[in-house]
Structures are given as structure tokens and as C-alpha cells.
Subunit: 220 residues, 2 copies
């Protein structure tokens, strides 16, 4: 395939995935037919079946594409950064930047996680697990370097995902703070909450030189 | 209706709601038929239609019952408590205690929020808003009394709901910390995160007597 036809292929598929995610988010996956997708995209059924063999494969492609994109963007952003708290801040910004632009996809990832089966489910789940592990490992690094004690890393990691992912239920970019304000608020609450006593102790005893305090978190 | 028949009525309805929530959570509301509910509850269709006139009314009853219960339990718990941080801690404990025992309902509240319409939707939405307002007002009180600055209360309130409500996606009471550990971790992360610099400042300058620091939050 030439580069030109490759990019035409990708753009059309991305358009189909985006349009389908909006319909799945509104009507639910099970209530949506391939005819609905055909109508909304203006593509024929045979045109659609060029890209996937079934509605379930389309749902798989959407989920796989989202997790691949958000994870690879994140890895690129944090490559070469040493401070685990700064890495976490970049991860939160990237996650929110991506999903504020893709709220339908976020709803579909959440509501239709179990609507794909077999190898497709396994493949998406493995990418999801890698992304969760990335967060858990960053939290472990921060906990060790800052002396955070008594927090369950699994609860902490999924608390952060809960804060970030719940936005599809309430966030309205026309009325609420913009996405950088959203990221700043969430990072500040989560990270100073996670550091908690370690932050207070470090401030109290003036051990600041030993503490890589993520000053950037506090910037307004 | 005598007290005895009243309580029989309630218990049977609660059983139907609980069983239906499990089916809605597994199959989705739109893919579930009243026949499925009939099979799972062992009740006839006419027996079910004694309690509600349609599947949508059943979904409304489930949502209304959950929000009414969690809100009234919460109000009873915080009545007479002055410290807003302690009130928030009790709210988190109550919310998690209730929904860890009702994870199917939590999933249904989230995924099927828009599957009820008209007055039913308005009624549930108004209860939901009252509960959200309770949290936002508590956060406002805490912010004022502790000198928290620069946080958006709407983002903060929904961050807390995100942390608490996301549990239906990951929490497993057989493998994870128990519900009191869950509440302790989430309260600690959220509340010390929300207090943030105010907590650090208070510790640094020794203004502890002026700060109603929610010591209980830190207890392990």
C-alpha cells in the first residue's frame, strides 16, 4: 500500500470509529446496528465491511485505538523525565487532554468494556493493564522516594482513574474550567493527597533538599 | 394497609429491585425484558405489574430508592456533627458502605442514568443534584474554614464522586482492602489533597489551634 492510500485508509477508519463511538455512547452498543453506522457515516455496508468484519470488531478497533493512542502519547511525553511526580502530572494532563476531546469514546470504553469477547477482549484488557501498571509503578516510585506510608497503591491508582474517567458524566468544556484547569485541579488534589503526611513532614522539618517536591503541581 | 402487609410489600419490591439491578448490570437495561425479570425473581408478570407499570418505572424505582437511601442515611449520620471535614468523612464512609454492598445498583445508576425519561428522570436528577450540592457545600465550608485557595469546587466534588463511584469497575471485596480500608484510603487521599497547602501552611506555622485538622482522617 502506498503512503497515500495508507493515510486515506486510516483517516476514513478514524472517521468511522469517531462517528460510531458517538452513536454507541448515545444509544448503547447493543441497540446500534451496522445500518445506523452506515447512515451516520454516509458509507455503504460493503464500504464499512472493508474495514471490519462485524460490529464487535468495530467496537474492538475503537477500544484498541484509544488505549494505544493514550498510552503511546503518554510514553512519549514521559520519556527522559526522571521525577516520578512530574511523570504522573504529565500522564494526567495527557489522559485528560485526550479524553476531553474524546468523551464519547471514554463513555464507550467504560460502558462497553465487556461487550467485546475472546481474543479481542484479551488484547484490549492487556493494554489496559499495562496502562494501570504504569500508574501503579509511578505511585510506587513516588511513595518510596517521598516516604509515603499506609496507602494501598491499587486503591490510589484506581482513585486517580476514577477522578479522571468520571468526567464523561459531568464535565462540560463550555461551562467548566478548561482542560488545563481540570488537569491542574485533579493533579493537585490527587498528588498532594497521595503525598499527604510526607509533604507535611518534609515542610515541617525543612528536609526540602532531600525531597523532590513536585513544585510544578502547585503552580496556579 | 396493615404494617404487616406494608412490610411484605416492601420486602418483595426490594427483592425485585435487587434482582433486576443485577440483570440490568449484566445485560444492560435495553437488552433486558420483563420476562427475564419474571424468570429471575420467580414472580409472574401480573405479580410484577402489581409493583410497577413498565420496565422504565422499575428502573426509576431502583434509581430513586438508591439515591433516597444513601442520602437519608448520610443526613442521619452527619446530623449534629459540626466539623465539615468529619461530615465529609462520614459521607464517604456511608457512600462506600452502601455501594460496596450494591455494586450492581451503582453500575445501573451510572450506565442507565439516561434510560429513564420525563418526570422520572427529573425526580431522580433532583435527588442527585441535592446530594452533589451537599458535597459541594461541605467542600465550601472546609475551604473557608481552612483557607483552601485556588481549587474549583465543582471539579473537587466530582473528583470525589469519581473516586467513590469508579469502584464498580475494579473493586473486589474478596481480594482488595475491606470497605473500611477503602474508605480510609479514599478519604485520606481526597481530604489531604483538598486541604493541600492549607495543611502544610498550618503545620509549618504551628497554627494548629486555629485549624480543625481532621485528625481522624490520618488514623490507620
Amino acid at each position: 500500500m502506498s503512503n497515500e492510500s495508507q493515510s486515506k485508509y486510516d483517516l476514513r477508519l478514524v472517521h468511522v470509529m469517531k462517528t460510531s463511538a458517538a452513536i454507541f455512547a448515545e444509544k448503547g452498543y447493543h441497540s446500534t446496528s451496522i445500518r445506523d453506522i452506515s447512515r451516520a457515516t454516509g458509507m455503504s455496508l460493503s464500504g464499512l465491511y472493508y474495514y471490519f468484519a462485524s460490529k464487535e470488531e468495530l467496537l474492538f478497533l475503537i477500544q484498541d485505538y484509544c488505549f494505544s493512542t493514550v498510552t503511546s502519547d503518554c510514553k512519549r511525553l514521559i520519556a527522559g523525565v526522571d521525577d516520578p511526580a512530574l511523570k504522573l502530572k504529565l500522564l494526567v494532563e495527557n489522559h485528560l487532554n485526550y479524553f476531553v476531546k474524546n468523551m464519547n469514546e471514554m463513555k464507550v470504553l467504560s460502558h462497553e468494556a465487556n461487550s467485546i469477547t475472546g481474543d479481542w477482549f484479551k488484547k484490549v484488557n492487556s493494554k489496559k493493564r499495562q496502562y494501570v501498571d504504569l500508574v501503579k509503578n509511578l505511585l510506587g516510585e513516588i511513595a518510596r522516594s517521598q516516604g509515603v506510608k499506609g496507602l494501598d497503591l491499587r486503591v490510589a491508582a484506581f482513585s486517580l482513574f476514577g477522578m479522571m474517567n468520571w468526567i464523561y458524566n459531568w464535565y462540560d468544556s463550555r461551562k467548566d474550567v478548561d482542560v488545563s484547569g481540570l488537569a491542574r485541579n485533579i493533579t493537585r488534589i490527587f498528588l498532594s493527597g497521595f503525598l499527604g503526611e510526607a509533604l507535611v513532614e518534609a515542610e515541617k522539618t525543612g528536609r526540602e533538599s532531600h525531597l523532590e517536591r513536585p513544585v510544578s503541581v502547585w503552580q496556579q
